[in-house]
Subunit: 241 residues, 2 copies
Amino acid sequence: MTNKLPRRERQLIERENLILETARGLIRENGFLSLKMSQLAEAVEYSVGTLYTHFETKEDLLVSLAVQSISQRANLFEKAQEAKRKSRDRIYGILIARLMLAETGPEIFDIERLAASPSVWKRATQERYQKMVAMEQRCSEIVLSIIVDAISEGDLALGSVRETDIVFGLWSLTIGFHRLMLSFDDLSRVGVLDINEAVKINYCILLDSYGWQPLKDWDHNTVEKDFRENVLFFKITVDTS
Amino acid sequence: MTNKLPRRERQLIERENLILETARGLIRENGFLSLKMSQLAEAVEYSVGTLYTHFETKEDLLVSLAVQSISQRANLFEKAQEAKRKSRDRIYGILIARLMLAETGPEIFDIERLAASPSVWKRATQERYQKMVAMEQRCSEIVLSIIVDAISEGDLALGSVRETDIVFGLWSLTIGFHRLMLSFDDLSRVGVLDINEAVKINYCILLDSYGWQPLKDWDHNTVEKDFRENVLFFKITVDTS
DNA sequence: CTCATTTTTTGAGCAGTTGTCAAAAACCCC
DNA sequence: GGGGTTTTTGACAACTGCTCAAAAAATGAG
């Protein structure tokens, strides 16, 4: 737990975090496309040149933000996975984790959406891009492992459907959720009144139809409350200033 | 069928189509972000100024492309809806329509993804933005109406789930599909080997679990073949030059 | 056909952006 | 303090979206 990094390096990391957090705030207000590097430089009280010692391009900054977001997601996913609960509860915890992250702010949708594009990857540091991919992979591995565990615990029996198909199905559902959160006013127009409700219902429907036990005497609201209160915490970055 | 538009206006429309098609081709190669207006101007053999008589901003051009794509989608959806087939076939036809559109080229993912963002809407013509929204709404209405018909035809009975929840569920699945198509090399890494297969399987699973009849003696491959050959045609824009 | 008037097209240039790099400032060790 | 090293800076280069005065084309009346 004691970190032995040289002072200088610690300062650099701290500054990088400052830049990332400030950028996140600015993106929350006006989106990534209207974020200007000069504006960001002014906000963190460093020069543009200094920003570019941390990030090679603006896209590199974007990917860094994506890495942050996805890492946090992987963390929450791990907590859900490790919880001593029924497998069905744990897989539902994955959804709750996503909902909780969505509640931290709408900018993560903008960030992750834009970061998922080859034209961005090309302009980012290879190292950061690799990390993003690795983190995303970590997330899907966790989901996969919950599925595998569910099978070995006897809660789930595969028919014609493969494990990875389940990963894809559950994951697609939440992507659709992200998309709708982004273009917010589409909601009522398309007829979906409560999007959180819609995604939960469909998630449960999918679980049921995969045959994921328990099908009866299982209330997703109780599970949600449990996970929110007892399982899923955020790592709070303490500012020792 | 006889169009009585003045010659001049016809020419303008033709030129606009030329611009849109050329832009589409350039986006296919390098993505929207690396499309340059000057490059596009050169490609269509007009000046930048002329481009800007058609589109107020670059984002306006993007939204126009999105309108094209979504209109084409609505057209195919209508064909699926109007087909004299079982309701389950028709709703499956919606998925096939999306798959067929995806086959026309990967640029539509880039276009629709970027167009689904407020920071783009703000810079586009109100008129074009409205049209895009209307077209998207039309698509979801068609899906909804197939659901309603299925109920009245006795193929579908709603339990706790609302009609709009079904719209959301089916639609989310295809969004996830789009997302994976965009970041292509994620596929094997996440473990999904055949993405088309994965989306079809989950689509059918959802239909089954909504209780959409017929559940037995229904082969999606046969339906797909039927729709591809007999129901879903593209409108071919004939060049009378 | 002529020429004045209107409409359309043009592309050099403006404003605003990302990203660079020589020089200034800060730091470090003697 | 002084010489050398590292870090920061911000003016500037390079490039882009977009404009608008002027050129070119179309129109149409005589």
